[in-house]
Symmetry: C2
Subunit: 461 residues, 2 copies
């Protein structure tokens, strides 16, 4: 088979699952356990230096649920493993997602313990989709959150996503482009992502471009000739200052042809020092309109330092460290059964406790529209004065809202981020945003815990 990462037919999506989702489903089917279940997707703890999450990934979840099925080839494969019964495979060949989904919309901020997504469906359907749902919402939330931190650190300077070459795989590259755009990046270098998501593609030139010409000056001239109105010259292949003087020369030649050099790009060395020297050379040459782009090893911590120190950099290209969320490449996001057949349930394993029952999150704001606190409550509880965060997005297996528009998600993020007090945005050890539980939820949790321990642990030694 060819490049499975990009060429899987849609009807094999069902197989993107942990084996145990299928074996558990067979056991459920055999026991006639087809009643309705609710699963809750949430994150228990903040990764290092995180104090908020940016919701992202729901669009892929809804597409996945809308298309869930197992092809004849998938069923044949499962049969050959020898693991499954014929009646289960017969059931599986006809399975579709018929349940409902409530979720915090993409772009919205949320916090630990808050359900980002809740799935309510016949038990097997809700169980089968676990692996894909965690995989996508976890990844996209991590990346959107990392990008939001970069945007915060850049304080208004533009940021482009240059991460594609070193994200963890092709899927992550596409999702990084989209997630970072939600959080305020201006563009992506990934052409496929730009075409799929309707985002602006952006690019400059590589060192290989420079070194494939006999001289840097030849390379600069060749590029400017092809792209007279969108040229960004990479000046560090041999020596950044010498390269800048070559860029000045080409910029003057472009001026005489009625064009303007857009920017020069620094990709190595001490950005603070070099950007000041380069800015001076450009300004002294009458090229104050030429912008400075810096890229290479940048993350939110570097950005914050450069911006605070006043380095004259107009645009940042952010790559690897943001694209893998290098300082926090994973979270403990989990998908837990919270209700089955009308009975609230919870997990009691050490450090892995979950809260029982379907839920809603209510957010209160102050008079200035700034966030004050969140309360996690039961789904059917109404807390006056709070804005409910989870919205119904799917019912009976059908979307109840049109597909999300990326620009609207981006605006939603901007609004939410503006309403979060700056002290929660500091890059290191931010304070915890206050999130509480409603009285009814606390009561239910202790009741369910006592019942579960009574049944399952009372006779242990």
């Amino acid at each position: 088979m060819n490049t499975p990462n990009l060429q899987l037919p849609g009807n094999e999506l069902g197989l993107f699952t942990d084996l145990y989702e299928l074996t558990m489903s067979q056991a459920f089917l055999r026991q006639g356990m087809t009643a309705t279940a609710t699963f809750s997707l949430f994150t228990r703890t903040y990764p290092p230096n995180r104090g908020y999450f940016v919701s992202a990934g729901l669009e892929d979840v809804l597409n996945f649920l809308s298309n869930l099925s197992f092809s004849a080839e998938a069923i044949d494969y499962l049969r050959v493993t020898g693991i499954f019964s014929d009646d289960f495979l017969e059931y599986l060949s006809g399975v579709r997602f018929t349940g409902s989904v409530r979720a915090i919309p993409e772009g919205r901020l949320f916090f630990t313990d808050e359900p980002a997504v809740e799935i309510t469906a016949p038990l097997i359907e809700a169980q089968l989709v676990e692996t894909f749902i965690i995989n996508q919402v976890n990844l996209q939330t991590i990346l959107a959150t990392k990008a939001a931190r970069c945007v915060w650190a850049a304080q208004g300077r533009g940021i482009a996503d240059f991460a594609s070459r070193r994200t963890q795989g092709t899927d992550a590259a596409l999702k990084m482009a989209r997630a970072s755009y939600i959080a305020g990046f201006s563009s992506t270098s990934n052409v496929l992502a730009a075409s799929l998501y309707g985002m602006p593609p952006v690019g400059t030139m590589a060192h290989s471009f420079i070194s494939s010409f006999a001289s840097e000056l030849d390379a600069f001239r060749a590029y400017a000739e092809s792209f007279p109105d969108r040229t960004v010259l990479l000046v560090d292949t041999y020596d950044t200052i010498a390269g800048t003087w070559n860029a000045v020369q080409v910029a003057k030649e472009m001026e005489s042809d009625g064009h303007k050099l857009v920017a020069v790009r620094l990709d190595s060395g001490n950005f603070d020092e070099l950007s000041r020297k380069v800015r001076t050379i450009l300004d002294d040459s009458g090229l104050d309109y030429v912008k400075i782009l810096a890229s290479g090893g940048l993350d939110e911590y570097e950005l914050e330092t450069l911006v605070k120190d006043g380095a004259p950099i107009d645009l940042f290209g952010v790559g690897t460290k943001a694209g893998v969320s290098a300082d926090a490449p994973w979270s403990d996001m989990a998908y837990k059964l919270v209700s089955f057949d009308g009975r609230p349930v919870m997990k009691l394993s050490p450090d892995k406790v979950s809260l029982p029952g379907g839920k809603q999150v209510y957010r209160t704001k102050d008079m200035n529209e700034m966030f004050v606190r969140d309360i996690i409550a039961l789904e059917d509880e109404a807390l006056p004065g709070g804005l409910p965060l989870l919205e119904q997005v799917m019912k009976d297996g059908q979307r109840t809202q049109p597909s999300a528009v990326l620009e609207e998600i981006r605006v939603r993020f901007q609004e939410d981020f503006a309403a979060l007090d700056d002290r929660f945005k500091v890059l290191k050890n931010p304070p915890r945003f206050p999130v509480g539980l409603s009285g009814k939820l606390e009561q239910l949790a202790s009741q369910v815990r006592e019942e579960a321990l009574g049944i399952n642990v009372s006779d242990s030694d």
Copy 2:
């Protein structure tokens, strides 16, 4: 569009590229720069605590190169961006990869500065494929290397890949399954990966399975009924010791039906302490054949401690931290032009120097077949007594070897890993395996450096 991560048609693969690959290509075409170029893919520095790399990803590279093309829709998209000239788009619509590839085979160990892959092709073709090639070889090498460290730490105990739910996207999940199998994992939980790569799928049960039944005992019995000969019981949903006693009861019931419980699984708490208690309970109950599987938050560091301390754990399920290579989620792998039109070239940017010219790596072994050192030499240099690591795998755009067989790659890794002295395998701050440059390569590097600086920097201030 639906779930672009898994549903991209093969003919859009060409668009998985940074925009600058396309803009540079247009400039090359305009300048008539269609001569042959060689690019080298290598890693400059070791990520933290790494002292070797396991080659992985070549199979996807070769599939990508074999299928490189731009569909009419892709060309239409590029036209609409307004960036490209008609003659370039006309050229692009007919582009195929017609070059050759030399590479270190998958499964083989390699070290910093050594080219894992070298691409020789008409300049534009070699440039266009950069983003995908780095993305895949970087990811898969990182994951195979992380998995090799886990296998080393487990000292013969089995390891299953449980990472799919928290890898960075779906592509990474599939590649983790394959890369970890190359490095000696026994199986994967990802059913799609198992079906695509012909690997054994493996699975147990989730906490949700337990909590969807009225009691843990009911859940255990239901699973055993469906899978009488492949049951692994998860015992920590409420309390690990109480859960183990429930497992003992079900194991006895299984025995009376002529079946055997395979294992119990611990997923939280202190694994060392719990595994000893659980082992005692099982042994005292006459269930010495029941194995203990531990999973949850494990990586090579945890594995090493548990194994050294003698925790009676038979199998490990390794997930998130391995699947994102949490302590080293990226490397500085780069794809650099080393030769164009017969002229060796190199990059001189600070900390980003590359070595000029096409290369070969020669490995010497001692009398016991143990690795002694590697020498990086020019491609056409023959170093007597050294084993050349790079093999020709594609010529004129056609594979020159049959597609890699996963089991053979796995054996190749085992053989290489056995030939690397144990001191290079320590998990923290390993010493550097000796890698040198041939005299001819050193000479060429200083010659090219002087020439480049002479042309490009002499007139700088």
